[in-house]
């Protein structure tokens, strides 16, 4: 239950103000660039993009090197349809549905095949169902626990029946995706993780409320600015995930935000990929393939 991750370091910080943090220079010992497949697709009637790139030195703050010579093919295994993705530049491979070629239906099985440097990589996913976003609400809150007074939003949705439904909730403020690691919002059966036995519940409050932006620590007065003001547009999307995608994103989330855990940091771990080569001699790839159904809702904050 990852909401504990918020309370423990908070207690710790409140208790001890002698701690300090400095940015330091070290060498990452980066030795080899690995193939990275970023394939988060959906069944919407829009252009689907798969990004293929290479991993880079941890401290290399540039745009990742693009892979421009891969062959990218998606197969709807259930229906037997094959969709070839075309390279459109900068490692972006695209396919656009037409009136006579739709990606498929709920519960269809998919196989992504990528050929790169003479090796073939494959990944599977299923088009899982998604619950609707029932509503987005907002309210005015007084200043509390370091949060400035102002407008705070939450969304309401109910987990689908049956144990083992996984979701990625994306929030957009005035069209801009809230993209910080600390804003990455995942849910298993409406809770934070598996194994609770909860099913069919209204998403738990901390998940509902993680559509409010996390302020920048170094931008002056940013923490004095409430998440939303009148006139803001709020969009919430729920993307269905497979259980392995949930695990991939959750390990990534834990690792990206591990510094916030202070003395309770988790062991450093690699996110488990589903991009696997058919050839045991192939270099290991990174990244993930998932195909989602998406539900969404949108409001404009009014008085």
């Amino acid at each position: 239950m990852s909401n504990l991750k918020y309370i423990l370091p908070l207690c710790f910080l409140a208790a001890f103000t002698f701690s300090c943090e400095d940015v330091i220079d070290i060498d990452a010992n980066f030795t080899e660039a690995q193939l990275v497949v970023d394939a988060f697709l959906n069944d919407l009637d829009t252009t689907q993009t798969i990004n293929v790139s290479l991993s880079q030195d941890y401290f290399d703050a540039s745009v990742p090197p693009a892979v421009t010579d891969a062959q990218v093919v998606l197969t709807n295994v259930t229906k037997g349809d094959v969709f070839a993705f075309e390279h459109k530049g900068n490692g972006a491979y695209e396919w656009t549905p037409t009136s006579d070629s739709a990606i498929g239906e709920e519960m269809d099985e998919y196989l992504l095949t990528i050929q790169y440097n003479g090796f073939t990589y494959e990944a599977g996913s299923q088009l899982n169902p998604v619950p609707s976003v029932d509503s987005i609400t907002h309210e005015f809150r007084e200043e509390e626990l370091g949060n400035p007074e102002g407008i705070y939003a939450q969304f309401f949705a109910r987990d689908l029946e049956g144990i083992g439904n996984f979701y990625w909730i994306k929030a957009f403020k005035n069209g801009e995706f809230l993209n910080k690691p600390s804003e990455l919002n995942l849910s298993a059966d409406g809770t934070f993780d598996t194994g609770t036995g909860a099913d069919g519940i209204v998403f738990l409050p901390p998940i509902r409320e993680l559509i409010n932006r996390v302020p920048d620590p170094d931008t002056e007065d940013d923490s004095e600015v409430p998440p939303y003001v009148e006139g803001d547009q709020i969009r919430v999307e729920i993307h269905s995930l497979s259980s392995s995608t949930f695990r991939f994103l959750q390990v990534a989330l834990e690792q990206m935000t591990n510094g916030d855990n202070g003395i309770f940091a988790l062991p450093v771990a690699n996110s488990p990929t589903n991009i696997l080569s058919t050839d045991p001699n192939a270099p290991e790839a990174l990244g993930f393939f998932n195909i989602s159904r998406i539900s969404s809702a949108e409001i404009v904050v009014e008085e």
Binding site: L8, C11, F18, S19, N179, P181, G197, I201, G262, F264
Partner: protein
């Protein structure tokens, strides 16, 4: 199998008893009694009773009792204890004789600092190796963080004891994890020994009488944990007169009251502490944290009643709690409760028995939200009751037989949790689990000329019982959660899974001369309960898991050998020890494991093996104005777990190659004394990412090769100083006081607890490359002065 083992054990015990009875055929009588401090009436643990004419001696046990059997005759007997004047008694031994003595009396105690020994030559002559005891008077002179005298931080100045970093709960002994230490407070186990995470321990220094740590050569009478026993014993309470002890520091204020109830028959001690950082910090906290609650307190009490020379009862209790609150949005609290009732009974003056009944509980609660629509409440608990009879049979001064047993009833409540979401209540509680742990032991301590031996056997048994479930898991690729295949329910009292282990223990000492000896030991230990923790420092919400059909008991074998030498009439004590330890069925976890509120947690556990080895060096100076000790450990602690570090051995997160501490005291004059402590250790291992990659707009760290703990943090070192100013001594006045001034981290070093990696915490527009950086995190990154005032009345 089980019954055969029991029969075997009982048979062996009987045979030993019978063989020793035959020795009684000669005309021998036992002299027995208690040795106590004449000023306070506190019994003295480890006082020496020595008979020069026959060159034989014994020491008092943990209740201050001794018994020595000698042929009929008249003897000069020396009763001694470091810091007290030795008393010579002439005893005419014609029958069984009881002689209880008080040492010191009103006479002023010798100005001497006891570092880690009670008898002057105990370092060399005592059979027990790999053990240290700490004197509370010494401990109180150490420089203390924020002026608070700390038992658990102080034992980290001993060889073989380390910690993963400042603020971390618990301690690591000879490469063992923190849950492998059995921390006993008056015989009751304490499941979380920390206040305020790991900064302070639950032990109130005013109520503690004696602390003993066993790191190896663990005698058969102790069991249940793999790596060490920390035996903390509380004061009985002054049986002579009313005494007040107290202190005001920056974190706590303390007060204890001790007094006789019936003089020399019954006494009590009540000691309390409360933190007031919340009170002190309030003006400095900005509005953000203005609504926070933050406090911790504990209450320790103990009383005893001596019915007659042969029967004495002790009742001890501890209650402590840490509370955190954030307005009415969130609350978090944890604490321990222990109660132990002990009955000392002397059957004959050769057979001493103590029976302990205890209750121990650790629990925590977390709540979020205060509205009827949305809230979350979670409590968790580990609770146990136990009975522990122990017998010591003083056959001859050269032969002491100990036997006894223990039975423990556990109840594990990993989660009683209810979430309310949008007005709907969701019960996400986990089933309680119940277990019984039992054991029998017999050990024989024998002196044969220059040899002294202690050999023993412990038989331990664990049974996970209903009502509860047994989970069966299928196979999964290494590193993935194992899928649940079947859940089988068991009725109340039904056995779900049981385990038994035979734990042989042996120790020997060979005295080369009065000033030096060689000691060696072997012990096997078994541990049936496991703390599930995958964070660097253990958190207060970590849960204890019993051994189940999926999680086997941990087993350890340890060998140790050492050379012990004293110099200059015991003014200097030195020792060097080597140890090698293997550990089976160590608990580890898959990446991204979810250890709490997870019914299927056992499917996320990986099992591995561990090994630890090292060299420990201790040099201490006990006499003179300048005293202190140097402790050095060269060690390695590693694990091999399928699915971690490419199935190769890797160092534990708390592994430190070198660990050095220098602790010194200097008496400037009657009123001023100063102390300095320097600590150095190799940086702990860590894992750093090598690369990063971008998926879904996120920049994810990656470690090529997937190694674990393959780089080291920079070394840790720190100097602390303190000065103690005693109030003016006035014999007329009972009020005594002192001031302790301390500086922690004198040269203001930012010792890293960890180095972590993050992307720029400020927002990077979608599509742009993010900056990633390494951050050094120091828990106590600055120098911290403090002052404390202590008084005694």
């Amino acid at each position: 199998m089980k019954t055969r083992l029991t029969t075997l054990l009982m048979g062996g015990l009987l045979a030993l008893l019978l063989s020793s009875t035959s020795l009684l055929a000669q005309e021998k009588y036992a002299l027995s009694g208690y040795v106590s401090d004449g000023e306070t009436g506190e019994t003295l643990i480890g006082a020496t009773i020595y008979v020069p004419s026959v060159q034989q001696g014994v020491t008092t046990n943990e209740y201050g009792f001794y018994s020595i059997t000698l042929p009929e005759g008249t003897y000069e007997i020396e009763y001694s204890y470091v810091g007290f004047e030795t008393i010579l008694e002439t005893v005419d031994l014609r029958q069984r004789t009881t002689l209880s003595l008080e040492l010191g009396g009103a006479a002023e105690q010798l100005e001497e600092v006891v570092v880690v020994s009670q008898a002057a030559d105990r370092n060399v002559t005592d059979l027990q190796m790999s053990s240290n005891s700490l004197d509370m008077q010494t401990l109180k002179k150490l420089p203390a963080l924020l002026g608070e005298v700390e038992v658990l931080r102080s034992i980290q100045l001993l060889p073989g004891v380390s910690t993963v970093g400042e603020g971390a709960t618990g301690f690591n002994v000879r490469g063992g994890s923190i849950d492998q230490n059995l921390v006993l407070l008056d015989e009751a186990p304490v499941y979380n020994s920390a206040h305020l995470f790991g900064f302070f321990s639950v032990f109130n220094p005013d109520a503690v009488k004696d602390v003993e740590l066993f790191k190896g050569g663990i005698p058969a009478r102790y069991g249940g944990r793999l790596s060490s026993i920390l035996d903390v014993r509380m004061k009985e309470g002054n049986s002579k007169r009313l005494t007040l002890n107290g202190g005001v520091g920056l974190i706590f204020s303390r007060l204890s009251v001790e007094a006789p109830i019936v003089k020399d028959k019954a006494s009590f001690i009540v000691a309390g502490r409360r933190s007031y950082i919340d009170v002190l910090a309030a003006p400095f906290l900005n509005d953000d944290l203005g609504e926070t609650t933050l406090n911790f307190y504990d209450l320790t009490l103990k009383t005893n009643y001596k019915f007659n020379d042969n029967n004495q009862l002790f009742l001890s209790g501890y209650f402590g709690r840490d509370n955190f609150g954030f307005g009415d949005q969130a609350g978090f609290s944890w604490g321990n409760t222990t109660t132990s009732l002990r009955w000392n009974h002397i059957f004959s003056n050769k057979l001493f028995a103590n029976t302990t009944f205890y209750f121990s509980d650790y629990d925590y609660s977390i709540d979020f939200g205060d509205t009827a629509e949305d809230s979350f409440d979670w409590t968790a608990q580990i609770m146990n009751y136990s009975v522990k009879p122990r017998f010591t049979y003083y056959i001859t001064p050269n032969n002491i037989l100990r036997f006894g047993g223990q039975a423990i009833r556990y109840q594990f409540e990993p989660a009683n949790a209810v979430a309310v979401s949008d007005g709907e209540e969701i019960d996400i509680s986990l089933d309680k689990r119940r277990a019984i742990e039992g054991g029998f032991y017999v050990e024989n301590e024998q002196t044969l000329g220059r040899w002294q031996l202690n050999y023993g056997l412990r038989w331990s048994y664990f049974n996970l019982i209903g009502e509860g479930n047994a989970y069966t898991y299928g196979d999964a690729p290494i590193g993935e959660p194992r899928p649940i295949l079947n859940i089988e329910s068991f009725a109340s009292g039904e056995s779900i899974k049981d385990y038994a282990n035979l734990e042989p223990r042996a120790a020997l000492r060979y005295q080369l001369s009065p000033n030096n000896s060689i000691k060696a030991s072997y012990n096997r230990t078994a541990q049936y309960i496991h703390l599930l923790s995958n964070t660097v420092a253990s958190t207060p919400v970590d849960i204890w898991l019993p051994s189940t059909n999926n999680v086997e008991p941990q087993i350890s074998d340890q060998f140790a050998i050492g050379y012990f030498q004293n110099f200059k009439d015991n003014a200097f004590e030195t020792s060097i020890e080597l140890y090698y330890k293997t550990m089976e069925h160590q608990v580890d976890y898959i990446d991204g494991a979810d250890l709490i509120l997870n019914e299927f947690v056992e499917g996320q556990i990986l099992e591995g093996e561990g090994r630890a080895y090292g060299l420990e060096l201790l040099v201490q100076k006990n006499k003179g104005k300048f005293t202190g000790w140097v402790s050095y450990t060269l060690g390695r602690s590693e694990r091999l777990v399928e699915g971690i570090n490419n199935d190769e051995w890797y160092p534990n997160r708390f592994d430190q190659t070198h660990n050095l501490s220098i602790t010194t005291f200097y008496e400037l004059n009657k009123r001023w004394s100063v102390s300095a402590v320097f600590s150095y250790n190799t940086g702990t291992p860590a894992t750093f990412p090598t690369s990063r990659y971008t998926v879904g707009g996120y920049t994810i760290p990656h470690n090529i090769g997937g190694g674990r703990n393959n780089v080291r943090l920079p070394a840790y070192h720190r100097l602390d100083l303190s000065a103690t100013l005693e109030g003016k001594r006035n014999e007329e006045r009972r009020w005594q006081s002192n001031w302790v001034f301390s500086i922690y981290n004198v040269y203001n070093r930012s010792n890293p607890f960890s180095i972590y990696f993050r992307q720029d915490p400020n927002r990077t527009p979608v599509g742009q490359a993010v900056n990633t950086e390494a951050v050094r995190f120091s828990v106590l990154g600055s120098f911290i002065p403090s002052v404390a005032y202590n008084f005694k009345f």
